[in-house]
Structures are given as C-alpha cells and as structure tokens.
C-alpha cells in the first residue's frame, strides 16, 4: 500500500510538472500487477484484483457523486468533494467498521468463509502453543491422561474387524443388479466392495495397533 501510494504521488507530481495526462494504465499496472499482484499467489485472486484495478483506478472516480460501490446502498463509498483535511477525516470516521462483501461484488458468504478460516487458524495456533507437559489436576501426566481416554472411550468406539473368511463367504452369495444372474465376484460392484473392505480393514488394523501401543 505504501509503495503504491508513493508511486501514485510521484506519478501525479511528474504528470503535473510536465503538463502531461495521468497514465491510469501505468497506475493500474503498478498497483495490481506489481505491488499487490506480486504478493497474490492464487491465479483467480489475481484476475479479480486486476479487475478491481480497472474498475476503481481510472478517470471516472473524479466525476461528481462517483460511488465506488454499485451494488449496495447501506453506505456510499465516495471521495468527498472537499479540500480540508478535517472533512476527509470526518467522512472516513462515518464508514462502516466491517465492509460488506457486496461492495467488492462478492456473495455475503465470502465474509463468513474468510472469518471461519481466520478463527480456525487462530485456534490451531492456540492449541499449538498450549503447554505440552500438563501436570494438571491430580498430577496426572500427559501419557496417563491419554491412556485413560483410550481405555475408557476410544478403543470401545472402534467397530469390529472384518474377517477375511467371513468376507469371502458373504461375497459369494451377494447378488448383482437386476437382469444379471451371476453372483459374488463375477459382479463388478461386488469386486469393488471387496477392495473397499480390504482398504478399510487395513486402516482399522493400523488404528487398533497404534491405540494398543499407546496404553
């Protein structure tokens, strides 16, 4: 932002001194492609930002009563037609604290997504910074607490294992769709079920083993 403002100021002074017209193209390019654009890593975000530049960095913003937002009228974002510093400050203080996503042409849920992500990240950091060696109530160690949790709750939650012999037996009798008289592994979706069961059992075995390793 600093760099962009500095560039615009310099460019304006130069244009005024030389008596040439302001090059909005240069301003747009420097702001959206170079100064901010260099920091935006998502391609779609960049595209959107360049579009904002085209929309809001051009001559039309100097026309009287120009409004930056076209979609919402809770608050009209304008450049005040004043020359006093205090009037600008006054106007800025009336701006809403939270900008509605609609003024950027976004759905209201964009703000929700953003805030959810932000608070999610904050919670993750908080958990990360929690003391690891909690000698909490009763003086239990971390290992003891985990062991208790596993024995009392988690291990009991695990579903029973699928047993190979049982799978084979059941599959042999499993029918296919209407119109196909074959049964068992001659049916494509039954073969698929077999593969899913194997992969599921693999994960379940790992979970059961790590849980018993921990207690």
């Amino acid at each position: 932002m600093e760099a962009s403002l500095l560039f615009i100021e310099k460019h304006m002074n130069q244009a005024a001194a030389l008596g040439t017209a302001l090059s909005w193209k240069a301003v747009q390019y420097m702001t959206t492609e170079v100064q901010y654009g260099g920091k935006i890593t998502d391609d779609l975000d960049r595209e959107l930002f360049i579009e904002y530049g085209r929309l809001w960095l051009n001559d039309s913003i100097f026309t009287p009563n120009y409004s930056f937002n076209t979609l919402m009228n809770d608050f009209v974002y304008q450049i005040p037609d004043q020359s006093e510093h205090s009037k600008f400050v006054e106007y800025i203080s009336t701006m809403p604290e939270k900008d509605h996503p609609l003024i950027f042409g976004l759905n209201g849920n964009a703000d929700l997504t953003y805030r959810l992500k932000e608070s999610g990240e904050m919670v993750a950091v908080l958990i990360e910074t929690m003391p690891k060696q909690s000698s909490g109530i009763g003086g239990k160690t971390r290992e003891e607490e985990v062991k208790e949790k596993l024995e009392n709750e988690l291990i009991k939650l695990l579903p029973p294992d699928f047993n190979d012999i049982e799978i084979e037996e059941r599959l042999r009798a499993l029918k296919g769709p209407r119109g196909i008289t074959d049964v068992g592994k001659a049916i494509p979706l039954n073969v698929f079920l077999f593969q899913e069961l194997q992969r599921f059992q693999m994960v379940l075995t790992i979970v059961r083993r790590t849980m018993s390793d921990m207690v």
Partner: protein, 172 residues
C-alpha cells in the same frame, strides 16, 4: 517408547489425528482428511456402517459416494454392470459414457446414512449421495445452479442417479 508412539500420544492429547492413521510411511494418504480426531473417528464408524450393511444385508439403495476410498473405481464398476445388463442390445464397454440425472431428494447430514429413507433404486445404474456444493446452491425446480442465499456455506446436493449410455449410434 518409539518417536511414533510419542507423536500419536501428543496427537490424541490435542484431539488431532495421529499421522499414522492418515499417511503411510512414504507419505501417501491412506484415509480421509479431517481437522480433528473426533470427526476422523466418526468417519471411521460411518464408513464401517456402509460397508458392513452392504456386505451383511444388501446392496445399498443409494451409495454414500464420498465414503469410499476409490469413488472413481466405483463408477467404473457401475459402468461395467450397466454395459453387461445391456449386452443383448449390443453395448460394449469402450462405447459407453456416464449419464447423470439430479434427483429431488436430499439425504441430509454428513454421515451418509440412509436408514428410514424410502428410495427407488433405478433398474440401471446407481443412486449416489454425500456430495456438497460450495459457493453455489441447487435450484430443484429448475434443475440448475443459483446464487447462495442462506448463511450456510455448504449446500447438501441432492441424490444423483448415475448410469451409463451407449455412444454407439447404431445400437441406439
């Protein structure tokens, strides 16, 4: 006590998913990605529920597509079945394509369970559910996407009937 076990204990203590449950030693994903351990274990139970019912009761009336390890493989197997059902009409596997139709019913929640729902499985193809829309919602009446209006970020997508159709003009 190995570093692996210490890592798992720290994870359980912080309600995170132990690394070994989600990745094999070479770093390949072996299960589903959830932010916390409770959601992961719920996923384990829900997946078991679907597979167990399919194996011990019957082929599900609608499949929880997102509860599979290999949904692509599921759809391919389905395509094979339809092609076989249509063998007498001259269909062959290299000349079929997917055909989908969005249904009216929505199976709510994120556990994929269909108990208590009356569904009418089609004679060909399968019903699938468990898909969500983000950034959009579905207009049931007009069968098209539309701008989100509610405050919910995710929209429960209706059941989809997925089947196959022949791309061979002669057999059509």
């Amino acid at each position: 006590m190995t570093p692996d076990i210490v890592d798992s204990i720290n994870a359980v203590s912080d309600f995170r998913v132990p690394r070994k449950w989600q990745f094999d030693p070479t770093g390949v994903e072996i299960s589903w990605m959830t932010p916390g351990m409770a959601a992961w274990l719920k996923g384990l139970i829900d997946r078991h529920h679907q597979l167990n019912n399919w194996l011990f009761k019957e082929r599900p009336q609608s499949f929880w597509l997102t509860g599979f390890f290999n949904p692509q493989g599921f759809l391919t197997a389905m395509k094979q079945e339809v092609t076989r059902q249509k063998r007498s009409e001259g269909w062959s596997l290299d000349e079929v394509d997917f055909k989908t139709e969005v249904q009216k019913e929505i199976i709510g929640g994120d556990d994929g369970r269909i108990e208590g729902k009356t569904l009418n499985p089609p004679p060909e193809g399968v019903l699938v559910h468990g898909l969500f829309l983000e950034g959009s919602q579905w207009n049931k009446a007009e069968k098209r996407f539309e701008e989100q209006v509610g405050k919910d970020l995710f929209f429960n997508f209706p059941i989809i009937h997925v089947s196959a159709e022949s791309t061979n003009i002669v057999s059509n």
